[in-house]
Subunit: 197 residues, 2 copies
């Protein structure tokens, strides 16, 4: 997750200003304790504008998630070209991500939990899941094609790796008793021994 | 997760009666929409008894989680003796679990999300994480000792498998775009090719 300057730049609309205020309030207070008034407190203009644009915090948060997803429409940014290096870089990014989000990672665990009962959140996270799985499958497909990977099923490997990433994200934000170092070493063993050639 | 008769049997105290009512209300309404009044609605005695025993829904839910954890103090029930069969059985249980909980699996995703900001939930889930990781590590250690497993690091394999299980649980309850069949086949490939001998 880049810092907010990279995401919002110089907001060009009231919507962008509200979303930036929402992002900051969400990182500070988390989902459960967030209110439209707290979002208004991060907003330079009148809080009543927030109420004018959105019916409640969930409508606003889903709009924020959609806005953030646009930043990631090409998936997680990777610089390597080689499939083997791209997989390594992806694993790096996933394990690093939650150290650098200043509260956003924790909020994201709470937001995903809303997908258990709220259709709008569920639609959003299903889009995200598709995006990430497609990105992983594409990397694996390229590795199989150029012979640097075993002839694995790209969609199968992608579904599994995405599950691992969801586990990493949940564990990093809700528990300190799961050793990320252990889990990562074992994940790399899986990739080295059964995916890469 | 066994059915509630297995968990609560014939409740022998007001606490157990309240906890059983809470379990049913939680499965029906989920965490976000749960109130002490809705719990009272599942409770045969007066709702005021619930308020008398607990200050709020979180105190009550953490007590329910602790009560349920006692049922699992020996870990997830497995019947096989052989380490290779026990690992297979554990994977079976994890993938089956969420099909059989009637709303409890979804509620559990919401409850774990509370661990991002609530110490009492966090303490509970860290205990649970320790319990499951210890159980997996013990199986792996037995397999390494009797020569049926590769000489892997039991704690490392356990941390990784537990992360996978967390990912399975989150995905099953928040998204239908992650193929559980794919993920499971790939998990079994990991276990067959790099853990079992």
């Amino acid at each position: 997750m880049p810092d907010t300057d990279d995401i919002f730049g110089e907001p060009t609309s009231t919507r962008e200003e509200i979303l930036e205020a929402t992002f900051h309030a969400l990182c500070e207070h988390g989902y459960s304790n967030l209110t439209l008034d707290k979002i208004g407190g991060e907003f330079e203009k009148s809080t009543s504008l927030v109420y004018h644009h959105y019916d409640g915090k969930d409508e606003l948060l889903v709009d924020l998630l959609e806005y953030l997803l646009q930043t990631y429409e090409d998936g997680i940014p990777l610089s390597a070209d080689d499939p083997a290096d791209r997989i390594d870089e992806l694993i790096d990014q996933i394990f690093l991500m939650d150290d650098t989000t200043g509260g956003f990672g924790q909020a994201l665990v709470e937001l995903r939990a809303q997908a258990t009962h709220d259709e709008a959140y569920r639609d959003h996270f299903e889009l995200t899941d598709d995006l990430i799985q497609d990105q992983i499958a594409e990397i694996v497909r390229a590795g199989v094609a150029d012979g640097s990977f075993e002839p694995v099923d790209p969609d199968q490997t992608a579904a599994f790796l995405h599950l691992v990433f969801m586990g990493v994200h949940t564990a990093q934000n809700t528990s300190s008793t799961v050793s990320m170092e252990h889990a990562r070493t074992e994940l790399e063993r899986f990739v080295d021994e059964t995916v890469k050639r």
